[in-house]
Symmetry: C2
Subunit: 125 residues, 2 copies
DNA sequence: AACCTTATTAGCTAAATAGCTAACTTATTT
DNA sequence: AAATAAGTTAGCTATTTAGCTAATAAGGTT
């Protein structure tokens, strides 16, 4: 279970548009790491990308993107793995699954409490 | 459906500990508006609270809490309604339901894509 | 009418954030 | 060995943020 501090980090990480876009594209496979074509020996998740490939998609400097990726990593939204020269980035789906559960639990409990209190369901508005 | 801008506002709103605690307690009914006891005529959701009641639970000034509540309102996480002297705050469960759906959709799509690509399910790790 | 209660607005400060360039480290290629 | 590529670190600046107090507005209450 994510504790409050972890959740705060996740919310903060996703509250910046640049980081949100990186997150989005890492999770949906929006970026492919162009150099992998010439490095067929590197074994890596096909959805994985690397820092400079991400940076190619933004009008921000590499250090800026690198710092954003670090923050996403520290929020446990993505994982990184260094292979040779490059740092590969993979989505951390477990964390997202937990976020989905948190919100869903909140909704379910809210509806149950409401039903208990009012004796009807929320959907009958 | 929440667009990116709305999501960014929600993440930002929930990324601050004080706002997160207000959010938590508004949604779980952690605060009761003490003065409602002597104002039985006011018709209000029993989970509702008001700005100064929230502020009683923090070591921050009323203006600070008021500003935080404003930000939660602008992120559509809570609704406010002025009745007489007071501003009543209610949780906006629909927004939370949408957040749960967003995250769940991301997880589901991720798993489906993975299954399509690898021909197995994620749970078999 | 005068006063209290509730909340917001305005204006301030310290700290955090998001961007940058330059310098550096570590692999890889030539 | 020298050059190139990929990332990170350090140090800087402008902007935003989160807190505060004082002042104001608008409903109650006495």
């Amino acid at each position: 279970m994510l504790d409050m501090d972890q959740k705060l980090k996740i919310f903060k990480a996703l509250s910046n548009q640049t980081r949100f876009m990186i997150f989005k594209n890492v999770f949906t496979g929006g970026y492919t790491c162009s150099l992998d074509k010439v490095q067929p020996g590197v074994k890596v998740n096909p959805i994985a990308t690397c820092v400079s490939t991400v940076a190619e998609h933004f009008n921000f400097s590499l250090p800026t993107i690198s710092a954003h990726i670090k923050e996403l990593k520290e929020a446990n939204i993505i994982s990184v793995e260094k292979k040779g020269n490059k740092v590969y980035i993979e989505p951390n789906i477990e964390t997202i699954r937990e976020m989905a559960e948190c919100f869903q639990t909140l909704v379910t409990n809210f509806d149950n409490n409401r039903e208990l209190f009012f004796g009807d369901s929320l959907s009958v508005k």
